[in-house]
Amino acid sequence: MSPSRHRSRFASWISGILLVLATIAFLGPLWFMLAGNLRKNEKVLTLGWQALLPSDATVENYRAVFRQLDFTHFFLNSLLIVGLVVVAGLLVNSMAGYARAFEVARARSRARGGDRAPDHSLRSHRRAALFRDDLRWLHEFFPRADRPVHR
């Protein structure tokens, strides 16, 4: 086996280990939540590392959630906020996105000396080219059929 094969295998091991660590870091809190949700109040935070093992199950907490609180009201509030944020955000952001894309297209056609009135000042050409290079990522994300992506 060539040394480069060795190295790539080593690299894949390392990246695998890193991925496992990242998974643990992300799933740990979630697991903590699931392990602790059936415990009594005092016991959730005082157990030390044993808090990660599920134990002492009671349904008391869930009874409290639905009896003691107006959970549906809170959830409806959450849903209202989510609905407003998603609809308004989507509207505004997609308008902004289309405006940006339109601007890019115009700058390109100007830089090619396109169909508009010819503008021969060096400055505007350079500015358009800079702008185009700045936004190359946009065309890699939203490739257009009529124009190849240059990397």
């Binding site: 979630l30 939540m33 699931l34 602790g36 949700n37 059936l38 415990r39 009594k40 109040n41 016991k43 959730v44 935070l45 008391e60 907490n61 869930y62 409290a64 959630v65 003691q68 609180l69 107006d70 959970f71 009201h73 809170f74 959830f75 509030n77 959450s78 906020i81 989510v82 944020v85 998603v86 955000g89 989507l90 952001n93 997609s94 996105g97 994300f141 939203f142």
Partner: protein, 84 residues
């Protein structure tokens, strides 16, 4: 752009469910819990009222509900795509 929009909608939905800071600053749950959301109540229960178990149980229920919402969106989008 379609896939981008779908992705944005799903991520925005999940992320805006956990809205907390605006509420904390503006109304603190508001007049008689009128503006309280689930995340806010679970934090207040655990931190201010020392009912950690209640807070945890609430966040588990909330987690399940958010999963349901995300799955519902997923299936709605897929159905619509198949209908086309």
């Amino acid at each position: 752009m379609r896939n981008t929009l779908i992705f944005v909608v799903m991520v925005t939905t999940i992320l805006s469910f956990r809205l907390f800071d605006h509420l904390w600053i503006l109304t603190q749950g508001g007049p008689q819990d009128a503006t309280t959301t689930v995340m806010f109540e679970s934090f207040v229960a655990a931190r201010e009222r020392n009912q950690v178990g209640l807070g945890v149980a609430m966040s588990v229920v909330f987690f399940a509900l958010v999963c349901l919402v995300a799955l519902a969106q997923h299936f709605l989008v897929r159905q619509e795509r198949q209908a086309k």
